[in-house]
Each structure stands twice: as structure tokens, then as C-alpha cells.
Symmetry: C2
């Protein structure tokens, strides 16, 4: 019995559903409890969801359970950033150092349904929708739920609770009350508003499909990610308060005026702008860090519940996906000692999640401000040239994050090292040139 | 009515009780709800409480309601640190730059009772003990309580909720669930064990009464603070795990052996060491930061609920006390606009609480490690000499924190500036000396 504990997965979002598949394929009995309705029921949450950009890390994790091709078929590859300056005229900045490198735009809902159906197909995975987590017992590894359809309270079987219930995790909230649990939640001054560019009448994309479109405006920005059926999901990221903020731009007139001034080339593409603006909320953006990610061998956190990040590196879901094979690997190496497994999992993943959190905040500044500048484009070209010259001895940070599985923290360290070496090489070259000049004169 | 809202104070600890007095004297109707029993009932919590060191900031805040003399009468002045090296031999390091400067050791319970009785004496302050806060309504400014004696649920009158309910504040936990509330709780790797040095049979102190005794041992330390009745409250601060930690030293034999090796001069003074060690818990030490400290004009946080710090600068209670006159001042300036009042209060206090949090963590290293070194004593003497030479142009940081009401953040800035100037002056002197030497040669 102790060899095969029951896993109670709280949350059937991206990380939770993929972990259910990993654990289910490994033969563990898995109960998945999800607050929202079964997507099969038709009662679907109208999402406030930035489109996802799945890249190598996510693809590798999906490949581990044979789902990579399935998912990529539903995605639109984006090979670079298409910059929309205020004064008009587009510039394209490739993401990769190779032309075939792309990140893949997919709707969160489509991806989630693919995962849920793959989990449902496993005989030892049981899915329970409309179950809201109300608490956990960290000693027995059980979770309590309210069935929101029947109003009945149920408790999961003893075993292991996997908290995959997102940035506002109920499982983590229970751990937070235990002694010596470090926790922080930190909000950006910016929130976001989801908008839409519908397809052309013939179903084609109104602007370049294979790009992530950015309207960089220094203190704020709009982005647009392509959907397979010809539309784009747009997101305006802007401050909650101050100049050009959600607090300042509220009425239809203000919205129309703001968009015509700031995004003149986008307005004709957005016929439902005012309705979308009125109907959609203006959610906040939070970074969550905590430690430890587990309690004894009974509770473990995964994905946003352990490490919610802001969306600007397009790595939140990729990072949650990456957690899953690592957690399974740790369980394999240490089972039945779950405490040792979760300890190793935390050691392997926490520093990388911390590194990603910083990267994601840093990339906001880059996207909304720097992508618009000539200096930035020059720097990107320089990076690419250096990689061509030096090969794998020089990999741009963006490539390491989006097109490799080098752990995030190692990628950051390596980028720092590369820059130091570059600086040293430049200094040596400069001194050499000066000596040569002296000698020539 | 809107001119005189009812204040519901959650928590009658140090900050809560003092704030009740400030608000009560101002004429506001005040309801104070406290989880613990009325001290008059005799049902007293056996404390796990480090003795407090009240210094100028706390004294000034007490003086504002006429309680300074009352409190100081119950306290023992400590004029410096008495260092107990492992190899024996004591050294005394004065705290102040003047011989009469002292911080004042007082038991938390004695101080709290003084404040509670002063609050009780006010006709418009009502005290409700045995009431545990179960939630708040942040829109109406009401709090819900469970009367732990009768098991009845009660709700406070609408108005303003002041969360003065400590590091694990229920009021703050409710705010944490609102949008855009930044929060962090961060634990030290060290916990603490309270111990005791009883008085001599004649009631006198067994070691120097007017000092804070420190046994610095690099990775851990013991301290002892004098009580009026001849005893000392000792606190061993040590790691939860690793070498010389709570995890390693557990049995009577291990405890005896550890103390005889590490604190040989203290063991003969501690006849109840083994019993104390067995009976007392090994609590953790947490730093709490959050923002904003208020919600609309309905909820505001105070003391540890807003900014719990580790105890190593002896400033936690002083800082909570300092909150009270500032909060009242802000209310006076903006009433009946409580939102503006709480906003100003947050602006004035948060940066100082943040500065203190860092100072307190830094001072742990100083106390447990550096106070034992000759270099440190030399530095302290140098600081004193500089102050004598330069007067108010050079004030040691410790003096600014403990013997002035310069806001904490300003004190830190000023110390940084002083050090920069000192460095510059030394450089100029060195260059001057070199030039002089060249000229002489």
C-alpha cells in the first residue's frame, strides 16, 4: 500500500492536468479535483486569459507523454516580434538565431481541453469537476472539497496532495499557516485588458499571422497573439493608476480617443473594441514565491501555486509543464520516500522558478519600452552575429530561455558569464589596438 | 455621525492598547477586542516573550499619553552590552555616546498591563477579552469575533477596523485576499528558547543589572535581560537545523553538555536550565512586510500586523508605539477623510518599518558574531571618538536608532552619508600626507 499512494491533484489547469497524465501513466491512482466545470459540460468560463506561447520546454514536457504533436497542431508558430511604432511602419525582429525557431501561440482553453481529455483516457485517473478546495490535512495528505453543484462536502483519500491550483492556491494558503513557510505575493503596478482582432471575412488573419505583434509605448503596451481560426487575442498592459492608465481611460469616448492616439493602425482592425473594453475586467499581475514547496511527504506544490510569474517572457505555462517530468523523476528516484522526492524536486526547481520570476519582470520593460528603439534592434542583431561567429560559445539569453532546456537559473548565469567575457575581449582588443597604433606611429 | 466613527481595535497587545489610549483620549468611541484573557482574570498566558528594550521612540510615544514615567518605573536601564566570551573575562560596551544613555528592560506582560489599565480607565474605551477575530468586512469597517468563553459570534459596530493583532494578524489575512495587496513573510533559519537566571536569595541580581548580557558564539548566541525583581530573562537564539542547533541538542544530557561547553560561566547561574529547556517551546522568527497598510478608509494595520521584525535591534515594540502618535496625527489632519489619513500614515511609516526590518536582521549578525571581536570594539570606540570630535555631524547609527526619534529610514541614509564623507576625508588626508612626505623628502 505504501508503495502506491493515491495522488490527490488539486486543480486541472495546465500543470495539474499534465501532472495527472504523468502520474497516471506511471500507474499511480490519481484523483483530480477542479473548481471549474467539466469542459465537456458546455458550462465554460469566459476566460480572462492571455494566449500562451508554448516553446521548447513546454513541448519537451508534452513530448514526454506523447502530446507534443497534438498540441502543436492547434498552435500558430510565431517566428518573431512585429513592432508597431506610433508613427506607423512595421519592423520584424526574429526570435531565434535560426529562421525555423518559433514560439507557438495557442489558446489556454484549447490546450487545457487536450490535456484533460488525455488524462480522462487513463483508467487510473478520476476527474472530479465543480469541486472547490476548502482545506487540506497536511498530516494525512488529504484535501477537503465542496461540490459546488450538490453543496456536499467531500474528502479525498489519504496519500499525497499535489497543489496545482494556481496563483491563489488554496493548498498553498494552508501551508502558509504552518511554521516557517516563506511566502511572498507581489503585484505589478500594471494590469491588463483583453481585446480582440477578428479574422477577415474569408477567415484569414488581418495582420501577419506568424508573429507576436507589439505596440510598445514605453510605460504601457498592447500585444496581439494569433489564433488558428484567423483572429488575434490582444492584450493591453497598462498601469492601474496615473497617466495613460485604467483609472484615466474609462468611458467609450476616452477609450476611442486613447486608442486612436496611441494605436492608430490597430483601431481599424478592432471593430468590437468598445464592447470588448466594456465587458472585460482589468485583472492584476502577481508574482508569487514561496518555500518550501512541500510539507513532509504529504503535500507538494506545482506550477503557479508554487511560482506564479508575470506573463512577459511567455514562460509561465512552459515552466509549470517543466515541473511535471522533474517531479515524476524525483518520485521515481526516491519512492516510496516521498519526502526525499519532494525535497529534491524543490532543490531542482525553486532556483529556476526564482530566476524566471526576475526574467519575466525584466522582459516587461524590454517589450513595452526597448523593443521600440533602434539601439535594441542593433543589440539583437549584434547578438545574432556573435552567435554566428562563436557558435554555442555565445547564445543570446532569449534563445537559452525560449529555445533550449538549459535550466533558467543556469541560462541567467551563462548570459552573465558571456557578457563578462565579451567585455574582457573588447578590453583586450582595445588595448591591443592602442599598442599597435603606438607601434605604427 | 461620520465625524466620529467607531474604532474597532483588533488586539490589545502593546500597539493595540496604546492606540486605544490615543484614540480614546481624542474622544473617539473605541472597542478593543483581544483573543487572550483579561489580565485581571488571572488566566494569564505563560509567555514565550523576549524581554523588551524600550528606548527613546517608545518613551516619547508613551509620554504622549502621560505614561512614560509609569512604565520607566517598572524597567531596568541597560547602559551597554556585557560580552561573555567563551574563554571567560567580561567586557562592557556602552550603548550610547553619553554615559546616561540607556535602553530599558521591561517584561512584555508588565508593560501590557500598564497600557490595558490606562485604556480601561477611559470612559469611551470598551475592552472585550476572550474574543478571537474570525474575519472582517473591509467595506463596512466591521470585524467578526468568536467569544471563546461563550462560543457566541459577535460583530463590531461599523466604522474603522484597526488591525493591531500581531505578526499573524487575522485582519491582514483578510486584506491579503483583496486585489493588489503585496505581502511577504520570511523566516530566519534561527529560532529561540527562553531560559532564566533567577535572583540571588536576597533578591539581588546575580550578574550586572544595568547591562544586556550577550554570549556571542558566531552562528548562535544567548542574551540575558534584567528584570526588576532580580532575575534575568535569557534567550538562546540558534538555528533550527545543522551544527549547534535545536535539532541537534535535545536530551537533558545534550543540553547540559552543550551549555557547559558553550556557556560555561552561565551554567552555575541557571539552576532550572534543564526544566526550562524542556518546558519552553522553540518558536520561529519572522519578518512580515505588506502594502498598502490600509483599505479604503475602513481598515488600517498597526505594529507587528503591518511590519513584524526580528527582535535583534530591540525596536519592534518601539516601532509599534511610534506608529500610534503618527496615525493619530494623520487622523487629526484629515478627519473625517479616513482614507487620506491612512494613506499619509502609510507613506510616513512604511519606509521606516522597511528600514527597521533590514536593520534588525543585520543586527543579529552583529550581536552573535561581531560583538565578540576586538575589531568591533575598536570600531565602536572610533565611532564614539568621532562623535566627540564632530558633535552632531557624526552620530553612530546605533545611537540614531536607539537614542533619537530620527525616522529609521533617515537614520540609515544619514549613516551611509557619514561613512561616505569619512571615506572621502580619509582619502584626502592620505593624499595630503603623501604630498607632505614627498615635500619633506
Amino acid at each position: 500500500m505504501s508503495q502506491t499512494p493515491t495522488f490527490t491533484l488539486v486543480g486541472a489547469g495546465l500543470g495539474g492536468a499534465l501532472m495527472a497524465i504523468y502520474l497516471g501513466r506511471e500507474g499511480y491512482p490519481v484523483d483530480v479535483f477542479e473548481r471549474r466545470a467539466d469542459p465537456q459540460s458546455g458550462r465554460i468560463d469566459a476566460g480572462r486569459s492571455i494566449n500562451l506561447a508554448i516553446s521548447v520546454r513546454g513541448i519537451e514536457a508534452l513530448r514526454g507523454v506523447g502530446l507534443a504533436e497534438d498540441v502543436l497542431r492547434r498552435a500558430v508558430p510565431m517566428r518573431g516580434r512585429m513592432i508597431h511604432p506610433m508613427e506607423g511602419g512595421l519592423t520584424f525582429q526574429p526570435y531565434g538565431v535560426r529562421a525555423d525557431q518559433a514560439i507557438n501561440s495557442i489558446s489556454r482553453a484549447a490546450l487545457n481541453v487536450t490535456l484533460i481529455e488525455a488524462a480522462r483516457a487513463l483508467p487510473n485517473v478520476r476527474l472530479h469537476f465543480d469541486h472547490k478546495c476548502t482545506g487540506i490535512n497536511p498530516e494525512t495528505g488529504q484535501a477537503q472539497f465542496l461540490n459546488t453543484q450538490t453543496q456536499q462536502h467531500v474528502e479525498s483519500r489519504p496519500g499525497v496532495v499535489v497543489g496545482a491550483d494556481g496563483a491563489f492556491s488554496a493548498v498553498r494558503a494552508a501551508l502558509q499557516r504552518l511554521d516557517r513557510f516563506d511566502f511572498s505575493q507581489s503585484y505589478l503596478a500594471h494590469g491588463y485588458k483583453e481585446l480582440c482582432i477578428p479574422p477577415n471575412p474569408d477567415g484569414s488573419h488581418r495582420i501577419e499571422a506568424n508573429a507576436l505583434h507589439i505596440w510598445p509605448r514605453k510605460s504601457f503596451m498592447m500585444i496581439a497573439l494569433p489564433n488558428l481560426e484567423g483572429s488575434f487575442t490582444c492584450t493591453l498592459f497598462w498601469a492601474h493608476e496615473g497617466a495613460n492608465s485604467a483609472a484615466e481611460v474609462r468611458t467609450d469616448d476616452e477609450v476611442r480617443c486613447f486608442f486612436e492616439r496611441m494605436f492608430p493602425d490597430a483601431v481599424p482592425l478592432m471593430p468590437t473594441l468598445l464592447e470588448d473594453f466594456r465587458c472585460n475586467p482589468n485583472p492584476s499581475l502577481v508574482t508569487v514565491r514561496c518555500a518550501p514547496w512541500h510539507h513532509l511527504g504529504k503535500v507538494v506544490l506545482l506550477g503557479d501555486a508554487a511560482h506564479a510569474v508575470v506573463p512577459f517572457y511567455g514562460q509561465g505555462a512552459n515552466c509549470a509543464f517543466e515541473d511535471c517530468p522533474v517531479l515524476l523523476d524525483c518520485i521515481r528516484r526516491h519512492a516510496p520516500n516521498m519526502e526525499a522526492a519532494f525535497q529534491e524536486y524543490t532543490v531542482r526547481r525553486k532556483r529556476n522558478a526564482d530566476a524566471l520570476a526576475d526574467l519575466a519582470i525584466g522582459n516587461f520593460l524590454e517589450m513595452r519600452d526597448k523593443t521600440g528603439s533602434k539601439m535594441f534592434r542593433l543589440k539583437k542583431r549584434g547578438e545574432k552575429a556573435l552567435h554566428k561567429l562563436l557558435g554555442s560559445a555565445y547564445l543570446p539569453l532569449y534563445s537559452m530561455v525560449s529555445f533550449s532546456t538549459i535550466p533558467y537559473a543556469d541560462a541567467v548565469d551563462r548570459a552573465r558569464m558571456q557578457n563578462r567575457r565579451l567585455l574582457l575581449a573588447s578590453a583586450i582588443l582595445a588595448v591591443g589596438a592602442a599598442l599597435l597604433a603606438t607601434w605604427v606611429i
